[in-house]
């Protein structure tokens, strides 16, 4: 039931974002459509884990931390690009992750890509290969994952 409400709400939100400024007609049509689609997909939702309000809170926290790291990463990259001597020393590191679910792993790889100076190159089982621009500056390999693994672990497990 929880999943049903979640599907319905997110579908309706996307519908209203797409057809903003809303008229009455559009609101009613959107409600009917999202209800219909969430009834259709209920069968698939039953097999996945039910959605918790608590993980929504953690996801919002994750998003805010993510935005801050993104801005930091951009200034870092801008500094490297502008510096005339191009201070790079690329290296690839292997990092183990403790996350189990696929969505969490994908989100972790995504956020590693958008954090300062790192990019996730490949993901095999629980090993992430990380490419680092300034390889000589890395002293703690686990630190490459940033604050994201803890937050994602709380959100999905």
């Amino acid at each position: 039931m929880n999943n049903f409400i979640f599907t319905f709400l997110s579908l309706f939100l996307i519908w209203s974002a797409l057809s903003y400024p809303l008229t009455n007609q559009e609101i009613i049509f959107g409600l009917i459509l999202s209800l219909f689609i969430s009834i259709l997909t209920q069968y698939y939702n039953q097999r996945s884990k039910s959605f918790k309000i608590k993980s929504l809170y953690h996801l919002i926290k994750y998003f805010i931390v993510f935005l801050i790291e993104l801005v930091k990463a951009n200034f870092n990259m801008a500094r490297i690009v502008i510096t005339p001597s191009l201070p790079i020393s690329p290296k690839i590191y292997e990092v183990k992750t403790e996350l189990k679910s696929n969505i969490a792993k994908a989100l972790l790889a995504n956020s590693i890509t958008l954090t300062p100076g790192t990019i996730s190159v490949d993901l095999e089982d629980d090993t992430i290969y990380i490419h680092v621009v300034e390889g000589t500056k890395v002293d703690d390999v686990e630190g490459l994952k940033g604050p994201f693994e803890k937050i994602l672990k709380e959100a999905f497990e």
């Binding site: 993104l70 951009n74 020393s89 290296k91 990019i119």
Partner: protein, 107 residues
């Protein structure tokens, strides 16, 4: 309101320019995609924020676009990097290529 919007557009344009410069200056595929993904992500986000300040009527659509971009751009760069490493096209300053198994020759 308009001035805030144009300020954000200016910031976005600057970061997009830096992304292009990064792609031009970096020596190999991996570093190029580093510069390309990061700077262009913030550049495009800032552009979208600026546009939504200028014309608030379209801002929900722009937010959806921004979310989609946040998820798709790292995936694209991830795939490009993986392909480059698998085909050994990256001119690496590395000890070894971890994605190639033993026996596959390093050219």
């Amino acid at each position: 309101m308009h001035y805030v919007g144009w300020f954000f557009v200016l910031v976005g344009a600057t970061f997009s320019f830096l992304a292009g410069l990064g792609i031009f200056r970096m020596p190999d595929v991996l570093n190029q995609s580093q510069a390309g993904t990061k700077a262009s992500t913030l550049g495009i986000l800032a552009l979208l924020v600026g546009f939504s300040f200028i014309n608030p009527n379209v801002s929900p659509k722009l937010i959806l676009m921004a979310l989609f971009f946040l998820f798709s751009s790292p995936i694209a760069s991830h795939t490009i990097c993986k392909a480059a490493l698998r085909r050994n096209k990256a001119k690496l300053i590395l000890d070894s290529n971890p994605l190639l198994k033993e026996g596959e020759a390093n050219e």
